[in-house]
Symmetry: C2
Subunit: 355 residues, 2 copies
Amino acid sequence: MPRMFVPGPVDVADEVLQAQAAPMLPHRSKEFEAIYRRTSEKSQELFYTNYRVFLTASSGTGLQEAAIRNFVDKRVLSIVNGAFADRWYEVAVSNGKDAVKLSFEWDTPASPDRIADAVKGDGFEALMLVHNETSTGLQNPVKEIAEAVRAVSPDTLIFVDAVSSLAGAKIEMDAWGLDMVFTSSQKCLALPPGLALGAVSDRAMKKAESVQNRGWYFDLVRMEKHRNKDSSPATPAMSLIYALNFQLDRIFAEGLENRFVRHSAMAKRVQEWAEAHDQSTYAPEGYRSQTVTTIKNDRRISVSDLNNFLKQREMRIANGYGRLKDNTFRIAHMGETQMEDIEELLEAMEEFLKK
Amino acid sequence: MPRMFVPGPVDVADEVLQAQAAPMLPHRSKEFEAIYRRTSEKSQELFYTNYRVFLTASSGTGLQEAAIRNFVDKRVLSIVNGAFADRWYEVAVSNGKDAVKLSFEWDTPASPDRIADAVKGDGFEALMLVHNETSTGLQNPVKEIAEAVRAVSPDTLIFVDAVSSLAGAKIEMDAWGLDMVFTSSQKCLALPPGLALGAVSDRAMKKAESVQNRGWYFDLVRMEKHRNKDSSPATPAMSLIYALNFQLDRIFAEGLENRFVRHSAMAKRVQEWAEAHDQSTYAPEGYRSQTVTTIKNDRRISVSDLNNFLKQREMRIANGYGRLKDNTFRIAHMGETQMEDIEELLEAMEEFLKK
């Protein structure tokens, strides 16, 4: 079986791929509405939330846009220390919002104190923050940031992009006081792409009612009405909902916490392997992703040669992303990937290095 | 095998459902990019166009929003004679555009002359029009409308929602001079929902470059750059792209024109059956949809009882939509539905009526 150690789309279990192939139903039928509702409700557990979870026919970027259009009237603080945070900033600007960028070096976690300072001086309506940067393999201290922001500006809404970490690392939306957290299907949930999941707090929903120009497709106020009544305003991505419904049962059967442990053990193994082979982890100790490790290519190996070598064993890893393309590479350990897969990969890489 | 005579999501052929279940690929891999490009290029034939076709991870409504955000600076004329045209008007308003509604009775085709008059007086940037109203089963004379509009205002862009007709009825985008035509996967293409296809003219793309506040997710200028380079800016709905790629070959093997003939023969059969049973077709002669027939429930049968009866034979039809919910019902004859399916349905309905 081919194995991809890329940070999404990840490999999907055969039985989950098959779950997509169930016959269609009218989306306004009681049968489908029941499946939709059950799937949405089960998804709350992934977010450690009692709030509603929206399921949208879109990629995760769609929910980056939804956060901006629904909950931000004018000004928003954008925390940027990676490529996907930068994309979110662009999303805000391209939707006509006054987004203020607070940047950190890409190999440095966002600082709770500096963010609190920025918010205190200004009283931003909202701040947006990426939990797990798929580009750098850096995990931002979301809990600490939320705490610091709450202390100085309790009304500022906090949005978290957890696209490459939710269901792979623990994010306690309610306990941490987050207002929107979202992910997409093709990362830790190990589903095909095309579906996004977003959990939203009551106070954010309240705020949305007064925000103008929310549009239609990602208008969460409209979605909320349909969520309470039937399913979603537009036709939902039915086969992906089937697959999510099925996959959630598999995830809960393994146990969410067990999944986190599995991922973080693989992360540790990859980091140690890198160090033992004169390569270093891009993100600093204490802020390393549990789901994807970005390795500084200190030895200047050719990633393309490496991937050609790995291909013979039906494996592949990922290039660096964006401006890190040439001087890093990435090994993902999310979704269905097991420690024995990682061992096999590292063994093959070892062989490659010895050549 | 259960059969649904509902206007989407429609039944999907088993082998097409299975095509979704192929293994994932990195979306930035050469393998996937080749599949994506081939699928997009093959799709041009559905639109009778040489222009580009975008494939978005969204429902058709997503492309209603894309048309508005990309190509309309301020003012747009919205032709409304059905529920989905009305939704599109709402989409325009909710995106902050000055949309002017030109309404016709729901059982009356939009009039080329009246539309030309409205455009002439004003010089609208664009007009939006639904080809095939899924609610009323009425087909608007898009070709004649486009001709009339071109004659009085050649610069006005013409957008056509062909969600429930494209690939089921002939729409010649280039020959008719249309600027954007779109559809979604779960109607005549007989795929699961979650994917939309939109063809866009060069002059519309040119205009988009100067339109502000296009957003990110449905920004077609951004999509065009990626279309030329790799695939799409956000992760595409991979399993649905697989299925579309496969289904296009099936559609072309049958022949697009043969498909149109099959659909229109079924439409005629359903209309005649209705008349023979003291029910009438909602849309007037000459403007009746080839893909879905809306029948006036003149005999006041209980659609819910009828569907319960049909359910025993694993068939179902659709209620009326929106304000026509109680006084019409709908029989779809699109996608994979064959004349023998329609015959079996009508036989069962006959039995029900005799009870």
